[in-house]
Structures are given as C-alpha cells and as structure tokens.
C-alpha cells in the first residue's frame, strides 16, 4: 500500500545542529529554532529575515503563545508543552496561551523527525527542547531588561524572573515581559553549543512543573467554543457524506446510479474515489449543500460493488490462518532471541503451554472522522484533527495528485484520537470531492462509516510455551505473536525494526512489550505477519498498541506458571524482577510499582468473600526504551453464571517526573478504564469481509454505570519524565483475567472476557 505516496520533508530535525533565535517580529517577540541548520547570527539581527520555527511568541501585552506541534486529543499536551516552557521562561501561568501548529517540518518531533503524536512519547521527547526554549527566552529577556534598567551585564545574575516580571531587588527596579518586548531590545541568537550549555533548573528549583495548573484548553471545552475538525466552516463550503462498501478493504465500485439522489434537494454530485494511495477502496462521496441533504443523497445512491478478494473472510478464518502460520517453523522473524529455548524446553521439569487471542477492536473516538478540503490557487488546505501531519499531508497530496509541499494541514482539537487519527483516510474523500466539485468540501463519516472502516486494533493470536526447572523457576519462554502489521502499512521504513535473525525488518509495534524486564535465560519472541488479516482488516495503532496484547499473553502466562509451580503470582513476579543484566534499573522500578499496588489494594491481607478474587499484572509499556512502570491489582466478583464485575482497579505507576500530577491521574484513570473496556466490553467481528458492528448498540464501550472505583498511586522518583497516556491500558486485561482465575479458578485466554467463556472455564 501507499506505493504512490512519498513522504516529503522527512528531514533531519536534529535540534542540536540548530541555532535558537529570539527576535522581534511584527506581532511581538518570536522565539524558536532556526529553520535551517547552521544559520548564523546575521539572520537574527535583521528582523525582516527572521523566520524561525516559532515555538512560542510574546506579544506586546505580555501574552505568551506556545505553538504545539503535537496533536491534542485530550491528553492536554499543548498545555503541558506550555507548562514546560513557562517553568524555564519565568512567565505567569495566567499569561500562557497555546495554539496548534500546521504541518511544517519546523514542528517535527525533535527525536522522531516527523510530525507525529503517539506512543506516549510527547512529554519525554520534548521536555528538554521545550525547557531550553523557555530558558533561552528568559535569558534574552533578562539581558534586555538589564540593559534597559541600567544594570551592568555582570550584575544580571542579581535579576529575579518570576510571574512575567524581571526584578532587580537591590535597586528595586523591575520590568514586565510586556515592557521588555515593547522595548524591542530582546534580540539574541543562541548557537547550538550555547543552547546546550544553558543550565536548566533542577527538580528542587521547579515552581511550576509538578503543579496541577489549570489546563489551558478546558474552559473552551465546557462552553462549546473549542473548535474540532468537524466544526470547520468555510465560505462557499458544501458537504460530503461517505458511502462505504460492505467489505472493509478490497472492494471496487462497478456502477453508481444517482437518479434517485438527483431528486434530493441540494444534491451536487456523487464522487467515486480514485484513491491511488490505496488508503480506501470502493468509496463514494455524496456531495450536497448541507450534511443532512448529503446524507439523504448518500442513502439514495444505488451502488453496485465487486467485493474483491476479501469479501468472504471472517474473524474465524483469520484466526485459523494465524494458527497455521504459527505452526510453521520458518514463518516470521525474531524480535528476541536469547539463549537456546529449544534445548532448555527439552530439559525442563515442566512445560506450560497456552494460546491467547484478542479480537478486533475499534477506536470509535466520539468525534467521527472528518476533514475539510479547499483548493486555493496551487495550495490545498486541509482542516482536520490529525495525529500524523507528515504522512497525512502526503496522503492528501496523493489523493489530489499534487506535490506534498503544496499541502497545508490546519490542525484542530481532536475529539478523541487513541491512534485512530494517525491515519489519513478521511483526507481522501474530502480532497477528491473538493477537486470534483470545485468548492471547499467538508466530509463527515457517519458513525457507521467510522466503525466499519476503522483502522482497527488487529485480531491477534499468540502462542506461549514456558519451561520450568524442578524448583519451578522459569528457564525458557517461546512467544509467537501473529497479527496484521499496523505500522508496516504506513510504508515508512524508519518505523520498522531489524529482526535479530536478520530476516528483514519486522513491525516491532506488534511485539513491543514481549521484550519484558523479567529475567528469563532462554527467551524467544517471534513476530509473524498474518497477511490475510493484514489485507482484509487494515489495522492501526489503538491506544497502547502491541503491549495491549503482548502483556495480555505474558502476564496471563506468568500467572499460569506461578500456579503450575504452586507460588503466589505476585511473589513469583517479584522473583523474576531481579534486575540482572540488561534489566537492571527497570526491573526494580517495575517491582516497586507492583509492591505499591499490592499495598494499596490490600493484596494478600484481605479475606475475600466466595466468588471474589484479586489478580495482579505489571507492565513496561510502551516500548522497552520508552517504558513507564505500571502495575495493577484488579478486584473482581464473578457470578455463578460467569458475569464478571470489576469492584476496584488499583493502579500504581512510576512516571519518573510528573509535570502535571492531576493530568497524570486523569490519563492513568482513562487508560485503565480503556483497558477494562477492552477486557470486558469491546469486541468487533469480521463477517463476509465486513465489520459487523456499526454503532454503539453493538460495539459497546464502558459506560458510567460500569465504571468501578479506580485507585491510583503515581510514583515520581525524579527520573526522566515518561509517558502516561497509554501504559495503564495494557495492565488491566491480564489483571482482570488473573483475578477471575483467583476468584473462581477459571482461566480465560481470549479477549474480551465473556460470561460464556468464564462459565465454560469454570466447568473445565
């Protein structure tokens, strides 16, 4: 797929090679990294040429506006970026504002080299750059203030910067940021070395990081003024409703009869998509003057399809194919290959074997997919909330048949992301309809379009085989993961990882998490691509991605092993987290979160009534290199009919440094409840090539009445800030599964956990 799409401007954004500029611009003071590596000071001295990547600006009234290159989908990342800048800048939080960046390599993630939001990466990867940007601004403002106040430069250390005011206590002189900006003297260029040499605050000097300041976006989300993609209104705009085929992928349109649609008032045109980016197949857009009329017209179109190669496939067939592939010795590539599992399993005193599955899951953010496209001269403007401007801009360009450099992506607030808006399918109908009718077009998916055409969490099949020695110690683990490969679908080699058996790149976003922090001397992890599923159900990154299924298998299996060796499952984990070798540090942090969760939940200290139980799990989501440390104790009650009621989730998470404690709690709670929703309530199925669930009556995420108490302990031990948006998703399903086993002795190995499966396992 996507062979027609070339990513433009995936250039090095290594900020260590760039100057940082503070200069006077029309609207006040602009601060940012130079657009071009190696820019010299002459640029900064001439404001006319001043074109830094403006990371923030300070207006003559002292308002500081931070431009956020990250998609804000409710994790309040824009506010967090402002908070990090504000800490070092010394501004008053009341003066801080945020705006969302358009697509521009200037706003590429400094670590990832693309404009992409995901992986719970944003804070950890931008903390240093945003801190330095803030500090550079403070230094420039302080020096300008010193000059204006007549304080000799060598006394500038006597200046105090606080709440947007620079004060010289000895002389009792002070200047506000607004006054300094108006003076026009705050112009300075930092060479990369100078920027690097800036001494940032240490944790004990923080006055804002670690404080739960009011999130800047929240007031607008209580009065209807926050603008999402769906709220975009352009002059002369018309509306598009999508008609999608009954088959998820691979269908083609044979014919469209629009004779009935033409009778609909306001109908403009039916546009058959010609999608050379291969993001969509067999889609038609009904364009009309209003969305209501576009929907009427869409309903009146008579479309004949060729269902294509996937038209007969079902979830059962995808599972069967996965099993077949796993049974082949030469399929897949190795992600982990430590020691010799074959030999170790051969000598093991006991072998425990199990298969774990997860069904298709749908993102279903509350804001259905949408995009608005407008051609203005040579430029294609696209308005949409999107997590991956770099690639989505290229897809929009591919749909328009133009060079990506002519595409401007206008970022909006995201009405939920969860990974869904990493994809760019919504660009295609908007762009092609706008091109076809010669007017701006806003395309909105119906909920039915949104559900049946989701880039879903793939159906997964995992086989785990564990070998124990005579003392019950885990000496070998074979772990095969069979799934569609969501990230490979992007067609960007940089997002793939080399396999350890040198059989070509693999999609690590299908196996991350399986490289856990337990010490197991012989350990294999094999990533196997389920080509059939890959083609029939183009998959995407759903909140927490691979750790959402790998830890389901690993953490269930650890419980099964503990059971087989007659040990307490929590104690068994603690012994495995010995921190030997490469696991040093991480293993101990994970062990500590587990102990914290156990303590909070009263694990092992409470006598629970019959039918109730507690289960533990601990995870190092997301990737091994970007792990947060999260543990959960789930307390469940299981009825004789197998119904599982979650009484309480206790989550402990080690996030290193907490920028905004209240937001971390909100994210961890939301993530834990997502994990519970996936564990118990959300299941999509493929039948005849199409997703069967179409709306919230059949795809049923957690509601208020199903929400248990969630107790959260956040551990901030001063290590680097880690991500919090996703990890807690992954720990909950295995904790619940283990709790069900603890309660009634029923081991369920398929997600979601259904009453039927629990009941069947109780009998077994």
């Amino acid at each position: 797929m996507n062979s027609h799409v070339k990513l433009s401007d995936v250039q090095s954004t290594d900020l260590s090679r760039r100057s940082f500029l503070v200069g006077t611009a029309a609207a006040g003071l602009a601060l940012g990294y130079s657009a071009v590596p190696g820019i010299d000071t002459a640029f900064a001295a001439t404001p006319a040429n001043f074109d830094p990547s403006v990371w923030y600006s300070i207006a003559p009234d002292g308002i500081v506006t931070v431009t956020c290159g990250k998609a804000d989908m409710g994790q309040h990342i824009a506010s967090t970026m402002a908070q990090i800048v504000c800490e070092e800048l010394g501004a008053n939080w009341k003066d801080m504002r945020v705006q969302l960046a358009s697509n521009d390599p200037k706003f590429n993630d400094p670590v990832l080299g693309a404009q992409i939001t995901g992986g719970s990466w944003s804070t950890m990867m931008n903390f240093d750059a945003m801190s330095r940007a803030g500090a550079a601004g403070r230094i420039a403002l302080t020096e300008a203030a010193a000059a204006s106040m007549g304080v000799p430069p060598f006394y500038k250390d006597e200046l105090v910067v606080r709440d947007s005011v620079v004060t010289h206590p000895k002389s009792k002189k002070s200047m506000t940021f607004a006054e300094i900006v108006k003076s026009g003297k705050a112009t300075k260029t930092f060479t990369p070395d100078e920027l690097k040499a800036i001494k940032l605050k240490t944790a004990d000097q923080y006055t804002l990081i670690g404080v739960s300041v009011p999130q800047l976006d929240i007031p607008s989300k209580t009065n209807g003024t926050a603008k999402y993609g769906i709220d975009v209104m352009l002059p002369g705009m018309v509306h598009g409703a999508v008609v999608t085929p009954p088959v998820r992928y691979g269908a083609t349109v044979k014919s469209v009869d629009d004779s009935e649609a033409k009778k609909v008032k306001g109908f403009v045109k039916a546009v058959i998509l010609d999608d050379k980016t291969a993001t969509t197949t067999g889609w038609v857009v009904a364009v009309a003057d209003t969305y209501a009329n576009a929907k009427r017209a869409a309903g009146a179109l008579k479309i004949a399809y060729d269902g294509g190669p996937n038209a007969k496939l079902s979830s059962e067939q995808l599972f069967t194919e996965a099993k077949r592939l796993q049974g082949l010795h030469d399929s897949g590539q190795f992600f982990v290959k430590d020691g010799d599992t074959r030999a170790a399993l051969g000598t093991a005193a006991k072998v425990v074997e199990a298969e774990y599955t997860t069904n298709i899951n749908i993102h279903a953010p509350m804001e259905p997919m949408n995009a608005t496209a407008e051609f203005k001269g040579d430029i294609l403007h696209v308005y949409s909330g999107n997590q991956f401007a770099t690639r989505s801009g290229a897809i929009a360009a591919g749909a328009a048949g133009i060079d990506p450099k002519f595409v401007v992506m206008h970022q909006m607030w995201l009405g939920g992301g969860f990974g869904r808006r990493l994809d760019a399918d919504m660009m295609v109908p908007a762009v092609q309809a706008a091109k076809a009718v010669g007017k701006p077009v806003k395309v909105i998916y119906s909920r039915e379009n949104d559900m049946t055409m989701d880039f879903s969490r793939p159906l997964t099949y995992q086989k785990v085989k564990a070998g124990l020695d005579a003392d019950g110690r885990l000496i070998a683990l074979d772990h095969d993961v069979v799934s569609a490969w969501p990230t490979e679908r992007w067609g960007i080699p940089d997002f793939l990882s080399p396999s350890v058996d040198k059989k070509g790149p693999l999609d690590a976003f299908t196996v991350n998490g399986a490289d856990f922090f337990y010490t197991v001397p012989n350990h294999n992890v094999r990533a196997i691509k389920n080509e059939m599923a890959h083609n029939a159900t183009p998959s995407g990154q759903l909140r927490s991605v691979a750790p959402g299924w790998t830890f389901w298998a690993v953490e269930s299996m650890i419980d099964e092993i503990a059971q087989a060796s007659g040990k307490d499952p929590a104690q068994y984990r603690i012994e495995l987290l010995d921190g030997k070798g490469a696991n040093a540090g991480g293993a101990q942090r994970l062990r500590n979160t587990l102990l914290a969760a156990m303590g909070m939940a009263g694990y092992g200290t409470k006598q629970l009534p019959k039918g109730e139980g507690m289960g533990v799990a601990c995870v190092s989501s997301q990737e091994r290199a970007t792990a947060s440390w999260t543990a959960c104790v789930a307390h469940v009650a299981v009825s004789p009919s197998g119904e599982v009621k979650v009484k309480k989730l206790t989550v402990a998470t080690d996030v290193g440094t907490q920028v905004h404690p209240d937001n971390i709690r909100a994210q961890v709670e939301g993530a834990a409840l997502w994990g519970m929703s996936l564990a118990l309530f959300e299941k999509a199925t493929l039948k005849d090539g199409g997703i069967e669930q179409t709306n919230f009556d059949t795809y049923t995420p957690l509601r208020m009445s199903q929400t248990p108490e969630v107790a959260i302990s956040v551990i901030a031990n001063g290590e680097k800030a880690t991500g919090v948006g996703e990890p807690a998703v992954t720990v909950v399903a295995p904790a619940i599964g283990n709790a069900v086993f603890n309660a009634v002795g029923a081991r369920v190995r398929s997600l979601p956990i259904t009453a039927e499966a629990v009941k069947a396992a109780m009998k077994a």
């Binding site: 929240i218 769906i230 209104m233 953010p365 009405g415 939920g416 937001n663 309530f681 709306n695 208020m704």
Partner: protein, 239 residues
C-alpha cells in the same frame, strides 16, 4: 453482557421527551422493525424513541412529518427555531435533524454529532427544559418550543455545572462534554440533591470515550452543592 438488552436499557433510561414530537398516526406498526416492537409495551418513551430512530433512517417518513409551521420562500423551506431565547430562521426541511440545523444553519457548533442514533448523547440539547438528543429530534417537531444549547446554558459560560467542570478539570478531548453538561443540567434543574445512583441513572446514556466518568460525577455533585447553597442564600435574602 447481552448487547441487545443493554441497548434497550439505555433507551429506557434516557429521560427524553421525543414522544411528544412524533405523530404516531403517520406510521404503520407493521413497518416497524421487530426490535422496536420488542420494546416493553408499557415503556412509551422508549418505544417512541426507537421509533424516531428508525424513522430517520427511512426516507419515506419525510412526507409524513407535520409541518404546519413551515412556509416556503422561493425554493427554500424556512423554519423558525426559538433557540437560546432568540427566534432564528433556518433553511431546513421539517425532517432535518435539529442537530444539523443548529450546527450548520445556525453555525453553533458546541452541540456535537456522535452517533446519529441516539446512543451516545453528544448532541444533547434542551427542548422546553428537557434533555433530548438533537440527532433524533426533527426540526419540524420543535416549532414553538424553547431550545437551549450549550451556548445558551448560561450567559457567560458560568452555569454551576460549567464552573464545576473546570474546577474538577473534567474534559479530556472534550468532544462529548457539551452533551454531558446539558444532560446533567436537566437533572439539576429538577433535583439539586441527587444521589450517586440517580446521577448514574441519568447520565448512563452519555458516552465518554476518554472515560472521564468519575470526574463527571464529582462535578455534578459539586455543582449541585453550589446550587443548594445559592438557593439557601437566596431564601435568606428573601426573608
């Protein structure tokens, strides 16, 4: 969980008043899908709700809608909506969901589209003070009635619920929150001392994919408390 039952439960719980807005005489019971017919006979509101949901997906309903208030201006079908205390003229057929008239014709985008089927609550507005799903309410059904959207809930965005939503830092993505606040407002307008169970029962039809449910509960409790205090203070002043 039995999924069909769950959907029915939501339908039953939703305190909508769409029943008043549909002319039953224009429908043939035989054409109503079985699942709607399977709604408990005594549950009139749920039946009507199911009916409106079904009807919107069936274009033949267009002709049946009562449209006495409609007048034609050239080719345009103009309707008058009383919204947030003002009469507004909109170019929309009588069978247009109120949601789209509010969002597109009036360009008041605080009311959100979520599911188009009355299952998520993102589009909740008030009609004569009652919370309704605007995606299931037709323009032709609200003539002469008072419609309130999130933009009109308070003059300055300072309804006790809006203040509580900020104090508790409820929204994450925020997309569902207009609907959540409007749904909650219809509860507190009648009951400023709700129990947790009453809140859950009243709010269960409103989905939040960010799962901010516990904060929503806290914010409703906080707002209710503020309203009770204000009400006591008001009584004291009056005496």
């Amino acid at each position: 969980m039995k999924r069909a039952h769950f959907a029915q439960r939501i339908l039953r719980q939703r305190p909508c008043r769409n029943a008043q807005q549909v002319n039953l005489k224009t429908y043939s019971p035989r054409s109503i899908p079985n699942w709607i017919a399977s709604q408990p006979q005594g549950d009139h509101a749920a039946r009507q709700l199911a009916l409106t949901r079904w009807a919107t997906s069936h274009p033949q309903r267009e002709k049946a809608v009562v449209s006495g208030f409609m007048h034609r201006q050239g080719k345009k079908q103009m309707a008058t909506l009383n919204i947030n205390g003002q009469n507004k003229s909109v170019d929309a057929a009588a069978d247009t969901p109120l949601l789209w008239a509010i969002r597109e014709q009036l360009q008041m985008t605080g009311t959100k589209f979520g599911c188009g089927a009355g299952l998520c609550g993102a589009c909740t507005v008030h009609v004569n003070g009652e919370a309704v799903r605007s995606c299931q309410t037709m323009v032709g059904d609200v003539a002469g009635k008072k419609i309130t959207t999130i933009e009109g809930l308070s003059a300055k965005g300072d309804h006790p619920l809006q203040k509580a939503w900020i104090a508790e830092q409820v929204p994450q993505c925020g997309y569902c929150q207009s609907g959540q606040i409007m749904q909650a407002a219809s509860l507190l307008s009648k009951n400023t001392n709700p129990t947790k169970d009453e809140i859950v029962a009243h709010m269960d039809g409103n989905l939040c994919r960010c799962m901010t449910y516990s904060r929503i509960q806290k914010a409703i409790m906080r707002a209710a408390s503020e309203m009770r205090t204000a009400s006591v203070a008001g009584e004291r002043r009056a005496t």
